[in-house]
Symmetry: C2
Subunit: 292 residues, 2 copies
């Protein structure tokens, strides 16, 4: 999708947040902001938001001198999610449609902050409320049909923390379908997105094969991804894409992709015709005709 002008203040906010993760020195924070202001002044809005975000965060990394500003934050998010894993997994297993519930949990986890200082009952409550509310865009029946005739699924991961809910969902998929699943992570650190290190940390590699997409954008820029990733992307019968960044970079692709995400900003809400806070399971409309 095309970058909206509303994304500009957001890029600046993200850059400031990232700089503050690394340093309390206001001169370096200001220098980082200035670097990002220069990018925004010259960037084409015909780039998609993930391409611009990649440029922005490259600049943040080079000015702060830190290649992984979110390292500590990601560790906390993974640890926090792992603590709830078995309880949430059991709750999901007892629901009337555990697969759909796991899918909704994974989408709900796309939004909810897992800072360890939040009380566990509160986080549970929010997840259960979102699961109870259901998908605002619901292509679940279409996904089931497709899963029944697919042999391979490429799962595009998004953020740390929620990777644990992705694991619960993948276990449900493996229980119910005879399908080979590959989970993908970013090529190197970018924001709080999952890398190979996170996949190992939460044990995703013990459940399915994990590959890197070979690039460090907060989404999936096909013209930048590795040959290995692109081969799997082309060959897979089905793609399950998690989160906004993957949606922003793939929403115009002509490929059988199901987007699973939480709507976190007004630009995406407008694009998908949903509200902020909604959870979405949306089949790529470009190829919808072939599905029905």
């Amino acid at each position: 999708m095309k970058t909206n002008l509303d994304c500009f203040p957001c890029f600046l906010r993200q850059a400031l947040d990232a700089a503050r993760m690394v340093t309390q020195d206001e001169r370096i924070q200001r220098k980082t902001l200035d670097g990002v202001l220069s990018i925004l002044l010259n960037v084409s809005v015909y780039l998609n938001p993930v391409e611009i975000a990649h440029l922005v965060h490259q600049r943040v990394k080079s000015i702060t001198g830190d290649d992984d500003p979110y390292k500590e934050e990601k560790k906390k998010q993974n640890e926090s999610a792992l603590r709830y894993e078995s309880t949430l997994s059991s709750e999901i297993a007892e629901m009337s449609d555990p697969l759909k519930a796991a899918m909704m949990l994974s989408a709900a986890g796309n939004a909810i902050d897992l800072a360890p200082e939040r009380p566990i009952p509160d986080i549970y409550k929010e997840y259960m409320e979102m699961i109870g509310k259901g998908f605002a865009w619901d292509d679940y029946e279409l996904l089931l049909k497709r899963l029944n005739r697919s042999k391979s699924l490429l799962y595009l991961g998004d953020n740390a923390g929620e990777i644990v809910w992705d694991k619960i969902l993948i276990e449900e998929l493996l229980d119910r379908f005879n399908i080979e699943i590959i989970y993908t992570v970013r090529g190197s650190p970018i924001l709080n997105d999952v890398t190979m290190e996170d996949a190992h940390f939460v044990g995703m590699d013990k459940v399915v094969e994990v590959i890197s997409n070979g690039f460090d954008a907060p989404g999936t820029l096909l013209n930048k991804c590795s040959g290995e990733f692109l081969k799997k992307y082309e060959e897979s019968d089905l793609i399950l894409s998690k989160g906004q960044g993957n949606y922003e970079s793939l929403s115009e692709e002509n490929h059988p992709i199901f987007f699973l995400l939480n709507v976190k900003c007004p630009v995406i809400a407008k694009e998908i015709h949903c509200d902020i806070g909604d959870i979405i399971l949306k089949f790529q409309s470009n190829s919808k005709r072939e599905m029905n």
Copy 2:
């Protein structure tokens, strides 16, 4: 107060909002953003936020070619507030301390959107809830003491819409104290701030003398204000300053000022040690010693 780096994304957001009030042409919106990005890239953070906001909105005006982007919005806000004026005025009069209630209404009105499509009962409810909650910073007793020994009060107005609640508050003040009050407006249009036109529209000039501060910043930049305004500012026994913009530009002045506002952003919340959404009546601490 000094500009915080958090203000930068906010300036960009404000500029985009203002450009969109004027035109749906995305090229002009982008040109406006670019103009503001250039300013932010070169501006000193030793300027206060109101000085930077003034530069930003001057640029918005020059690029869009519209000197009053919020004209229609202000008219709506004034009309909407005028429709509730008599009802709210009566409710306030029946409260145990009508003056304090009017003060809280005026602060509450500093935050609440008066878009006409909102149902009246909802707006009432929000005002009454805020009045029920009271001031998070409460220098009301100090203000009463000062009012008892003051002959003149300069009331620094802030936004359209809430000027009607300022009028109710001023009427309560005139009922209770033998004091001359002057209400001030911005020199020319800036954001949704009040100008002489708004004061006439809501009939403020029928209640007290209204003067312009002579400048079009969204606050009170003393080094830019007119001689007439500065004379009144220096001579007045007491100053009542409405809203964040006036606070941002006057918080370091050594003058007997009471700040009445709703805390609308994290930067101000941190500065005043309050929460977003709080209503505040705060005496200028620089001169507090002389008061007790």
